[in-house]
Symmetry: C2
Subunit: 126 residues, 2 copies
DNA sequence: CTGTATCCTACGTGATACTG
DNA sequence: CAGTATCACGTAGGATACAG
């Protein structure tokens, strides 16, 4: 059966699973970064831009728990921890990138729509 | 140029546009609902399950602002307001559904991964 | 280097009451 | 019916300090 054709309540529950994944501020960024290959903690910290150490840890733990990434500790000094997408994680990258690509193609239209909406609002206020 | 192949910082900004859209709790649900056709306020309120009146209003305003839905007021008594996806909104439905379908296909694996992770954690704690 | 622990703030969200 | 306004709360998330 095609999930797309399930009735509304069921679809919502399905989507809920994804939302819990991408609903937070950083998960998608981290997944996309790891999509370019294995990364260590400090590399991600540097690359994911504004992320705090705390949120990177929290995000990675969540991804590990859900089976999207593996965490490999190298018992060296100083310690080194590598994070890598699992097959499931790499698979997730496909729809996530589709969404990202869509966004990049339609970004301008959204920005335009916002400007028009805000302008209309401001005029109505006068 | 294929957006998928842009370098990391650019991709992140693109994804950011989508995240601001789907980052909140209700937007996706409402979009999916409207994907099945025009709806009035009270119908959405009933169908989107746990949503409050306030959040439905907020969500719809955001979608309208971004150009994903149109808002049509019928000056009748009692008032009637119809919401409908624009072409942009219907277009967005494609990658959103792809993500939903992916979730429905892989839901079980994520649940399994969580159970395994939590079990391992609990054992390690003993 | 890779975390964990604690505190603190801001914001999203819900409940409730009111309006056109 | 379709909102708006106000309050009250919980939690996400940042800053900081500390640990292995």
């Amino acid at each position: 059966m095609e999930p797309t054709h399930l009735h509304p309540p069921v679809r919502c529950r399905m989507i809920d699973e994804v939302l819990s994944l991408i609903g937070d501020k950083w998960t998608i960024y981290v997944v996309v970064m790891l999509g370019q290959g294995k990364r260590r903690f400090s590399e991600l910290k540097r690359e994911v831009d504004g992320i705090s150490q705390k949120m990177l840890t929290v995000t990675l733990r969540g991804l590990e728990r859900d089976g999207y990434v593996t965490r490999t500790v190298h018992p060296t000094i100083p310690p080194r921890v590598d994070y890598e997408l699992t097959e499931l994680g790499r698979d997730l990258l496909v729809p996530v990138r589709a969404l990202g690509d869509w966004a990049s193609r339609h970004e301008a239209r959204v920005v335009d729509a916002r400007i028009r909406y805000d302008t209309r609002l401001a005029q109505a206020a006068e």
